[in-house]
């Protein structure tokens, strides 16, 4: 049986319409580095939020509690920063630079060495190099002449090969997309229900993407596809789930 989640607008103590809990906490999370107008729920400007919080004790308490948590965690930190003195960082910098410059030197001398070896090899084998270069030039020339004189029919195998390659690429992309889709789908089911506020968070927006190993996915997929998935509507998500 399919259930439907019906959301009622929250009401503050004075009966005013309150923003969703997530919007309140998001507003409370914003720092000096954020542009509030870009970061907030499009239905609630930062000015409206400010006004609302000043007149709704319930939302104000929620925002305060959230902010307080963040401040306290920041103050406590996960380790004692005071244990690391100026002297510690001076030595750390020496270590870092020691590694950097020695690595740079070794890379440089290696490059020079390999260039010298290459040049010496070329000098030693110049006759052989000349023969290889001539052969390459001949192949290129014949190839060019052949292509120029060929009829459309004689080009068919080349076109077929190109189309085959394109087909392979498409199949690769499709399988990569499917693999990522399955990973996302598996992880998203655990994250989609926002249990505290009782509302559904945007399904793909809440996907826990860490399950997908970055090294297994190309950069293209790990950036663009996530954004694409964020844009999907409920019916499209349902369709995608069906296909996967």
């Amino acid at each position: 049986m399919k259930g439907k989640l019906i959301l009622f607008p929250r009401r503050g103590e004075s009966g005013m319409k309150c923003p969703p809990t997530d919007t309140v906490t998001l507003y409370a999370s914003l720092g000096k580095t954020d542009d509030p107008e870009e970061s907030l729920d499009p239905h609630w400007s930062s000015l409206q939020m400010k006004e609302h919080l000043s007149s709704c004790p319930r939302c104000e308490a929620q925002a305060r509690s959230w902010r307080q948590s963040l401040d306290q965690w920041k103050e406590v930190d996960l380790f004692d920063q005071d244990a690391f003195s100026e002297e510690y960082f001076r030595k750390l910098q020496e270590d870092i630079e020691g590694t950097l410059w020695s690595d740079a030197e070794s890379t440089r001398s290696e490059t020079i060495r390999s260039n010298v070896v290459e040049l010496e090899g070329l000098r030693r084998n110049r006759h052989r190099v000349a023969v290889v270069l001539s052969a390459l030039a001949a192949i290129l020339l014949f190839g060019w002449v052949g292509l120029r004189d060929s009829t459309p029919e004689s080009n068919v195998p080349a076109v077929a090969l190109e189309s085959e390659l394109r087909g392979d690429t498409l199949r690769d992309i499709e399988s990569e997309g499917r693999a990522l889709g399955r990973t996302l789908l598996a992880s998203v089911t655990a994250e989609s229900l926002d249990d505290e506020s009782g509302s559904m968070a945007p399904v793909w927006g809440s996907a826990e993407l860490s399950a997908a190993s970055d090294s297994d996915l190309s950069y293209f997929f790990s950036t663009n596809l996530y954004d694409e998935l964020d844009e999907l509507g409920a019916s499209e998500v349902a369709e995608l789930i069906e296909r996967l």
Binding site: D80, G205, E208, D230
Partner: protein
């Protein structure tokens, strides 16, 4: 204030491999990089130092890939996060062959006298609870929460660091904070 972007002249010097410029960048950002590495490696100093060395080495080696579109700090923290992630994967693989680690000590409850309020987080034991809470998060949520809370990066910058969208960074951060609060509450610490 958002992190500062680098001007063209400085960018040119970085690309040219100017050691003086790079040294000053190391000096300026090593604390952020080291502290982020400490947080991402569960406070293990040796691992953090290793991550810092590798992160700066990668930044130096691939300096021509820095285009100055993000701030240098954001770029460095992105490298740091990736290096830490790789180190963690290696550690996990090693751990698979060394059973016996991570016993009941990891789940030891707080003593009753400590279960009073969030203020006790000032104590060493309570800091460990916060660390446990952060460690209980999925990797990406953890990275996003740590960069956001401790490095004061905007959501856009956090997204740049973690290779995701700003919207995803916001949602992940929201979930992370809720989970940490829940974890602390379960340990008797009012958040």
């Amino acid at each position: 204030m958002p992190s500062q972007r680098i001007d063209d002249e400085l960018l040119r010097k970085i690309h040219a491999g100017d050691r003086t410029v790079f040294s000053s960048l190391v000096r300026e950002h090593q604390r952020s990089v080291f502290f982020t590495a400490m947080r991402l490696s569960s406070g293990d100093e040796a691992s953090a130092r290793d991550i810092v060395q590798k992160a700066f080495l990668q930044a130096w080696t691939h300096r021509e890939k820095f285009r100055g579109q993000a701030s240098f700090k954001t770029w460095l923290l992105r490298i740091t996060t990736n290096v830490a992630k790789n180190e963690q994967r290696r550690a996990w693989r090693r751990r698979e062959f060394t059973p016996g680690e991570g016993t009941e000590e990891d789940f030891e409850p707080l003593t009753p006298e400590a279960e009073t309020s969030f203020d006790v987080l000032a104590s060493k034991r309570a800091r460990e609870v916060l660390r446990d809470a952060v460690e209980s998060l999925p990797q990406r949520q953890r990275e996003i929460a740590l960069l956001r809370i401790y490095e004061d990066l905007s959501f856009v910058e956090v997204a740049e660091c973690c290779g995701t969208s700003a919207n995803n960074a916001k949602v992940s951060f929201h979930h992370a904070v809720k989970k940490i609060r829940k974890f602390l509450a379960a340990k008797g610490l009012a958040a």
